[in-house]
């Protein structure tokens, strides 16, 4: 990935990919999220979503605060399956 600007470290998404998708006419952050899988990795978008919002704002002439955050999914941090299934009953 040398020389590329990574915006999503969980799913290896580059700034170029985000810009290309927006240029193709997809400007709803929910759609950008699902097509590029930003915000869907273990970090839950903590790294990538603010960067994607700023790219989206710049390219569409909106203010960053006008762009709604995609809905976060539970659990907000990864949880080991073992913890959730309990001890002997798995």
């Amino acid at each position: 990935m040398e020389g590329k600007k990574i915006v999503c470290r969980c799913n290896d998404v580059t700034a170029e990919e985000v810009e290309a998708l927006i240029d193709s006419g997809i400007t709803d952050i929910e759609e950008v999220k699902r097509l590029l899988r930003i915000g869907m990795g273990p970090c839950q978008g903590r790294t990538c979503i603010p960067i994607v919002i700023s790219i989206l704002a710049r390219k569409t002439g909106r203010k960053p605060e006008e762009i709604p955050l995609p809905k976060a999914k539970v659990p907000i941090r990864p949880v080991r399956v073992e913890v959730l299934v309990g001890g002997g009953d798995g």
Partner: protein
């Protein structure tokens, strides 16, 4: 035939828009939220012909054939992979039921076969062999990426002239006699209207609301939204659970490795009637319940991490078969897919486009079986085989 309006920007609406445009029709499509936002993008990605009745087996056999050619036709990556569906029997009675289903599937050309657990273990290396007696295995079943598939259809539909609008909500239908003549819609608080020659209700869980706008009873095609959830683990090495693996006897629990990042998607038939059509809130009982099944199917999963949990709707009819056909002279429905809309879309969209544009279709779709008026007549079909 003039202007056709499609209501609903999920896979069924968008794929039908594409098929109609291919036949030269002038199509406008309305999605009240963003494309894919209803049930399509929340699905578990699976595609199977392993049903247990003639109508659904035939329809899905044809749909899988369409899926096989879709990437080439839409000139876009949709990540369709035929990695199979593996059903696992937990009792002798179930093995006998599998045999009967396999015989029926084979009769219509679906190559399912009964396999021993040793072979199942070769297909799914982390499978727990101890609780299972045999498997029903169809290597032609598979999975695809719902987002990529919808946008591949959408891109082609737009190339062919479809006017597809998102964040545009249909707020009314004007009816004259047995025909819908105008669609009223709202976008950015502005209301507009358009004269139409035909309308397709492809809004799945929301379909009864659209039927009411057409002056029909909301119960004519009874569709109830049930909340179905999924849990997904962190990305794992490929090849662990490539097929969808499901012991139906364990509350239809299943696991399948996501074709994109290798995370394991876990589902189960732990369902809740949705409190409203906005109720997609995940629940803790599901999270714990589904994982208890998942670790019994594949014990090493207990060391993986859960990354996401989400919910979507199974828009269920009373017999879990969709309603596909005319409701009025020029008002059609393709809804109530009961969890099977994504897998059925390539076939159903083509059939519906033929019905709307030409009044007939060569697609192997049993029009009587899916007749939307069957509920009013009290003629329920045998229940479509549903998992998760």
């Amino acid at each position: 035939m003039g202007k056709i309006a499609i209501i609903g920007g999920g896979i069924i609406g968008v794929a039908t828009a594409y098929e109609l445009a291919k036949l030269g029709e002038d199509v406008i499509l309305f999605e009240k939220n963003y494309f894919d936002s209803g049930s399509t993008f929340r699905c578990a990605t699976g595609i199977r012909a392993q049903f247990t009745d003639e109508a659904n087996i035939k329809l899905m056999k044809y749909s899988v054939e369409r899926w096989e050619r879709l990437e080439e036709e839409l000139e876009s990556d949709i990540n369709f992979r035929q990695r199979g569906y593996l059903f696992l029997a937990t009792s002798e009675e179930e093995v006998e039921a599998f045999k009967a289903n396999i015989k029926l599937q084979n009769r219509f050309g679906v190559p399912t076969r009964l396999i021993e657990i040793e072979e199942a273990k070769e297909i799914v290396p982390i499978l727990n062999t101890e609780p299972f007696l045999a498997g029903a295995w169809n290597p032609k079943d598979g999975k695809a990426n719902p987002f990529k598939t919808l946008f591949a259809y959408l891109g082609k539909a737009r190339e062919l002239g479809v006017d597809a609008r998102e964040h545009t909500e249909v707020v009314g239908l004007e009816r004259e006699g047995d025909e819908i003549i105008t669609v009223k819609f709202r976008s950015n608080r502005k209301v507009g209207s358009i004269k139409v020659d035909a309308v397709l209700n492809a809004s799945n869980a929301w379909a009864p609301l659209i039927n009411e706008m057409a002056g029909l009873s909301g119960d004519l095609v009874p569709i109830t939204a049930y909340k179905h959830q999924l849990v997904k683990t962190e990305p794992l090495e490929r090849g662990q659970v490539e097929p969808l693996v499901c012991p139906p006897g364990w509350n239809d629990a299943y696991i399948i490795q996501d074709g994109e990042d290798g995370g394991i998607i876990c589902g189960a038939g732990i369902e809740h009637e949705a409190k409203s059509l906005d109720d997609v809130e995940p629940t803790y009982d599901f999270l714990r319940g589904v994982l208890r099944y998942a670790v019994r199917i594949a014990p090493p999963l207990r060391y993986a991490h859960v990354v996401r949990q989400w919910a979507g709707f199974y828009a269920k009819t009373p017999d879990k078969n969709p309603a596909i056909r005319k409701l009025l002279e020029n008002f059609y429905i393709s809804a109530g897919f009961s969890g099977h809309g994504f897998m059925m879309a390539p076939a159903v969209a083509k059939a519906m486009a033929g019905l709307m544009a030409k009044g007939s279709t060569r697609v192997l779709l049993d029009l009587e079986w899916y007749d939307p008026y069957r509920f009013e007549r009290g003629e329920l079909r045998s229940s479509a085989f549903q998992i998760g």
